[in-house]
Symmetry: C2
C-alpha cells in the first residue's frame, strides 16, 4: 500500500503542493473553499504527513525523549516511572507528539544518548529525572541547547526549567501525624542519597523531628529497591529500642519493610506503623493497606510535558512547584502499643 503524499492531494485537488501545505497547516494563502476541499481529500485518502520530511524542513521532530536510568529488574516494579509515562502520554498524544524511550545504565550513557538524539534531530526536547548535586548532565544540555525539563530538586539548573514538589511539607505532615498518634521513636528509610529531592527530605525530616524533640530519629540511606529497603528495615528492627514507626521514601521499600516486620513476627500496625512515600495500587494491594503520601504522579508528568513543550516553542515557563503530597491514612498506621 502506497503512502499518500501532499503531491497526491495536490493532483486530485488540481492545485500545487504549496497550496496543500498551506491548507493543511492552517496558514493563510488559500481560500476557505479550497482549504476545505483539500482537507476533505486528505481525510478521504487517509493522509498523514511524513514525519521525516516534516522534521527535515521544519526542524521539528514532534517527539520528546526520556531516558530511564535504573536496572531492568527495578524498573518493572517501580510504579513511579510508569505513572510518569502515562502522564506524559496524556499530554503528548493530544498534540500528536511521540515519546521516545531509552534505558541507560549510567549518567555517562545518558549523556551519550542526549548527544546522539540531538545530533540525529530525533527529538525536540528531553525530560530529565533524578537531579543530583552538580549534575553532570546539565552543562551538556546547556551546551547542546537541547530543550529540557528537570523533574526533581529544587536545585541549581541554570536556565533549565524544573518541576518539583514540596517534599519537606509532606514529610513534616507525616511525622506530625505519627507523633499525634503517640509515636516517639520514628525512623526513615531514605532513597538514593545522591538525589537532591532525597536530600531535601532528609533535611526536613531532621528539622521536624528535632523541633518535636524526638530522639534517635535516624534516616537509613537506601536505594529504592525492595532488597535494600528490607535490609534497612531489618537493621532498624533488631535494635533494642527499635522504632515504632518507619517512613519509607517509596512504596516498594515500604512493602518490603512490611514483609520484614511480618517475618520477624511484629504486627503492623500494632508493633510497627508504616508510611509509604508515593501512593500506588501496590499500597492498597498488601495487608494491611499502607498509609501513604499520595500525589498525582500522572498529573505531575503531564505538567512536566506542558513545561517542556512550552520550552520547545521558545516560551519559557520557568521552574514550577507542583502540589505537595498529602497523607492518605490506611491500615498500616495506629497508636503504638
Amino acid at each position: 500500500m502506497k503512502r499518500p503524499t501532499i503531491a497526491d492531494i495536490a493532483r486530485r485537488a488540481g492545485v500545487s503542493k504549496g497550496a496543500v501545505s498551506y491548507a493543511l497547516n492552517g496558514q493563510p494563502g488559500v481560500s476557505e473553499a479550497t482549504r476545505q476541499r483539500i482537507v476533505a481529500i486528505a481525510q478521504e485518502i487517509g493522509f498523514n504527513p511524513n514525519s521525516a520530511a516534516r522534521a527535515l524542513s521544519g526542524a521539528r521532530a514532534r517527539a520528546v525523549g526520556l531516558t530511564l536510568n535504573r536496572p531492568a529488574r527495578i524498573l518493572g516494579i517501580e510504579p513511579w516511572f510508569m505513572g510518569l509515562i502515562s502522564g506524559f502520554e496524556s499530554e503528548l498524544s493530544s498534540r500528536s507528539y511521540g515519546l521516545t524511550l531509552q534505558v541507560v545504565g549510567s549518567e555517562e550513557q545518558e549523556i551519550e544518548v542526549y548527544r546522539r538524539w540531538w545530533g540525529e534531530r530525533r527529538i525536540d526536547g528531553v525530560i530529565v529525572t533524578d537531579l543530583r548535586e552538580d549534575d553532570i548532565r546539565i552543562p551538556v544540555l546547556q551546551q547542546l541547547q537541547l530543550p529540557a525539563v528537570i523533574i526533581g530538586g529544587p536545585g541549581e539548573t541554570g536556565d533549565i526549567p524544573q518541576l518539583w514538589s514540596d517534599d519537606a511539607g509532606a514529610i513534616t505532615e507525616a511525622v506530625r501525624y505519627l507523633v499525634a498518634l503517640g509515636h516517639r521513636r520514628i525512623a526513615r528509610v531514605g532513597g538514593l542519597p545522591g538525589l537532591l529531592h532525597t536530600q531535601a527530605r532528609t533535611r526536613a525530616f531532621e528539622q521536624v523531628t528535632t523541633a518535636l524533640g524526638l530522639v534517635e530519629a535516624v534516616t537509613v540511606p537506601s536505594d529504592y529497591t525492595g532488597e535494600e529497603g528490607g535490609r534497612a528495615t531489618r537493621r532498624l528492627l533488631i535494635e533494642a529500642d527499635r522504632p515504632t514507626a518507619i517512613i519509607y521514601d517509596n512504596d516498594v521499600m515500604a512493602v518490603a519493610g512490611l514483609a520484614v516486620a511480618q517475618e520477624m513476627g511484629l504486627s503492623v500496625p500494632g508493633d510497627l506503623s508504616i508510611v509509604a512515600w508515593d501512593d500506588s495500587p501496590l499500597c492498597s494491594l498488601v495487608h494491611p493497606p499502607l498509609t501513604a503520601l499520595t500525589r498525582d504522579i500522572a498529573e505531575y508528568g503531564a505538567h512536566a510535558v506542558r513545561q517542556l513543550l512550552a520550552a520547545i516553542d521558545g516560551k519559557e515557563l520557568g521552574s514550577i512547584e507542583a502540589g505537595a503530597a498529602h497523607l492518605t491514612p490506611r491500615g498500616s498506621t495506629a497508636p503504638p502499643r
Copy 2:
C-alpha cells in the same frame, strides 16, 4: 551549537557528499585511506546522521513502536510491560534503533496509532501484545504491510510472525507440584478471558485437573488487576469447601490474593498455598515470598525484537516458541494442613 552534516565532513576532507556517505556506511566506492580519513573527521566533530534525512531517503526510520493498552493505574504496577521494554531496549540500542511508546485506551485507538505511525513513516515496525481471537488489529497490519511481531498466542495471525511460550506446560507443572504436595482442591484466578494465551492456560488447567481427577478445579476469570484478583480470591475463600491452593495468572493478582487471605485470618501457606504466574521482584517482596512460574521476560522481549528486525529486513523468521516458564518454589506453597 550547529549540528554537523555530511557536507561539513565533505568540505573538510576535500571530497563530495556522496563519498562521505559511502565511507560512513561501509559501502564500496571509496579507498580505505579516504574512508579512514572521513571516519576520523566524523569522530572528531561528533557527527550523528540526521535521522529525518536518513528516513526520508532511505525509507528506514530506525525506530520501532509499542502501544500499551492498559489503564494508567495498572501499567505502573504491572512488571510485565516494563520487563518487556527492558528486553526490547537491550536489543534495540545495540543496533541504535529507537523505541516509540504510546499509551492507548482501546484496540480501535491502537489501530489508529498504527495507521498514523505508518502514514508518518515514524517507525519501521511494531510489537503487538495481547493477541485475541479474530483480532481486529491483524487485518489492518496486513493491509498496511507494517512489519510486526505478535507476542501472545499461539493463534491465527496469517503471515505475521508470533512469539509465544508453552503456557500449557507451565501450568501443568504447577498443578502437578501442588498435587504432589497433597492438594486436591485447586482453583485458578485467570487473566482477561478474551486473550488467547489466557484461553490456552484455561484449557490446559482443565485438562490436567481432569486427568488428575481433581473435582471443583475452577478458573475464576479476572482482569490482571489487584482489585479484581482480590475480589475473586474472596469469592473462592468464602465457599464451604474452599480451595487449599490457588494459581494466579499474574503476580499482581497473587499478591492481592495473599492480602485477602491474611485479611480473612488464613495463614499462607498453612491454610492456603499460592502460585503466581510471572515472577518479578514483587513476588520476593512480600511475606511469605510467592512461589512463581518464572520466565525471563526481558529475554522474551529481546527475542521479539530480533524477530521484528529480521522481518523489517525482509528476512522472515516465522513464528517461534520461546522457553516455557518453570516453577520457582518459595514460601507460599506447602502441604495443606
